[in-house]
Amino acid sequence: MKDQIQIKRERSLEEDNQSYFWIKSEGEKKLATENLVPGNQVYKEKLIIKKGVEYRLWDAFRSKLAAAIMNDLEYFPFENKSKVLYLGASTGTTVSHISDIVGPSGIIFGVEHASRVARDFLDRVASYRSNIIPILQDARKPKEYFSVFGKVDIVYVDIAQPDQTQIALDNCEMYLKKGGYFFLVIKTRSIDVTKSPRRIIEEETEKLKANFDILQSIDLYPYDKDHAMVIAKYKN
């Protein structure tokens, strides 16, 4: 990994992490990942070539993981060769950037239940990227997933369900390795609209404490309204 950082420094990109990059575009520093499939766009994001390497700009208004980075995410375990279980792949915007990051030796199990968005996920993302295994299943039934094997390094959950935290916990129990990382997007409005967002985040976080160490909790405003992200580590 050190080597890689070194090499990329030579390309004079202003990265502060080996997995994603800050690229100057139109006078602004913008977040980007190295395109795993050169020439391939996923959501009309801008492609930028610097020193022969193609990067895809990563739009924080379209991807909550990018929003978390913009809002000072302190832990970023996604790296070359990571194995990820991603619940709520949707049309695959964020998945595609994680796919760039984990590279050809990494693997992402992308779970999505709604067939309309899954269609776009297949068409635009999964078909082109060899490290993605698409799973059209209900995240409530982790036992019915096909083709997932072994434990994963990271479970990332972005499903708008009232009982999303419980669903996420069931999935972690089954598929997350001890000491692995857990990213939970909390859609405060989906759980209970009568409570204040802060209280919802606190309550949801409370449910995790038995099995997780809470590392950070990030409000995604202004990139996303009524959303927060909680990052936790699975206890050994």
């Binding site: 709604a114 295994i133 059209l136 083709s147 072994g150 434990k151 609209v193």
Partner: protein
């Protein structure tokens, strides 16, 4: 100890951790689904297992059912064993000869996942309720379009004949008049052909002769008429769509149609996403489908929650006095969810549902004849 393991690429028999026999799938997606749906024959496997004449543990419940059907002595693996299989699946696949190495396994598993996902997408795409949803969405879009186009037509032709805008409410009637041309060409016959009653025809002729509109050039008129023509074409398309929604709803959701009417029923279906999903929703959710924004606002600010969403379009709801509407919408929603469930099971039209709804709505009408102080 024999164990029979189902993988995405075939079925393997292991004995004491060593491969005994492997039955690869030639078409993994299809054959795997057949097993999962308990429709496989699996002759070779059955014969082989029968020949072993010993109890075997099986990794998959569906496979177990099939084997039992053929009187194989078998039982489900313990969960620790299942966990172990889950953890080492790529190795099992390689050991079974379904793939040449771990890299190849990954590629084949991915291919399988893409294929299985695709076939699910295909299956869903054919469900008739999705097509009804497309039809009703198109119909609503066309209504929006006809309104927008009609405003443009009224503004433009209004330079020539401004008084017409206030007299003719009908989008089509207006377009038909425009098609006839300039004010000078608007004979009584034109108004009659456009279907206006005699009293209106008289009034239109009179006003047309002393309009305060300006002259319109032939070039401009020709374009304005093309816009009018498009509006009339849309009207035809709208009729087709309406009939289609009606027919299709009668076919796949006769009970929902009876309770909600085919158009409102189709819209509610669209909000729910599918007939199956609609049948699983609570009545209170159906009551406010289409009023999600108002619902969130009310929960956030403590204002009155909405009493109806799309159901406001239901004849029984909007014809009722204001203070009864919430209660009627609730009654309609309650019957709609039952109707959807009956339709999911394809049991044909159940007359009593609608009768019960009528009785309930009559009750509401009587019980709440007058608004209370709170209303």
């Amino acid at each position: 100890m024999y164990s029979v393991i189902l993988t995405e690429l075939g079925i393997s028999i292991f004995n004491e951790g060593k491969l005994e026999k492997a039955f690869p799938f030639s078409n993994p997606v299809k054959e795997y689904l057949l097993v999962k749906n308990k429709e496989s024959k699996l002759n070779e496997l059955i014969n082989y297992l029968a020949s072993i004449q010993r109890g075997v543990s099986v990794s998959d419940e569906s496979l177990l059912v099939i084997l039992k059907k053929y009187s194989i002595d078998c039982y489900l693996m313990e969960s620790s064993e299942l966990d172990n299989i889950q953890a080492t699946k790529p190795q099992i696949i390689v050991d079974s000869g379904f793939a040449s190495n771990l890299q190849d396994t990954l590629g084949k598993l991915r291919e399988f996942a893409l294929g299985l996902s695709s076939s699910k997408v295909t299956e869903v795409s054919e469900s008739p309720d999705l097509h009804i949803i497309q039809a009703i969405n198109s119909l609503d879009e066309i209504d929006k379009i006809a309104n927008g186009l009609s405003s443009r037509l009224r503004e433009w032709y209004g330079l020539h004949f401004p008084e017409l805008d206030n007299i003719i409410d009908s989008i089509n009637g207006y377009a038909q008049i425009v098609l006839a041309g300039k004010r000078e060409s608007l004979t009584k016959q034109v108004f009659e052909d456009a279907g206006f009653p005699e009293s209106k025809v008289e009034m239109l002729s009179l006003i047309s002769s002393k309009s305060r509109g300006g002259d319109i050039s032939d070039v401009n008129l020709a374009i304005v008429q093309s816009i009018a023509k498009q509006i009339l074409d849309f009207h035809e398309l709208r009729k087709k769509l309406e009939e289609h929604v009606e027919t299709a709803m009668q076919e796949i959701a006769p009970n929902l149609s009876a309770i909600l009417g085919s158009a409102v029923g189709a819209r509610i279906l669209g909000r729910a996403g599918s007939l199956k999903r609609l049948a699983s929703l609570p009545a209170s959710t159906i009551q406010v489908l289409g009023a999600e924004k108002a619902l969130f606002r009310s929960l956030k600010t403590g204002s009155q929650p909405p009493k109806h969403g799309l159901l406001f379009q239901h004849a029984m709801v909007h014809a009722a006095p204001r203070w009864q509407r919430g209660k009627i919408a609730r009654a309609v929603a309650a019957k709609a969810v039952i109707a959807a469930r009956v339709d999911v099971y394809g049991e044909g039209l159940n007359q009593t549902l609608l009768e019960k709804l009528n009785i309930r709505v009559n009750e509401i009408g009587k019980k709440y004849e007058n608004p209370t102080e709170k209303d």
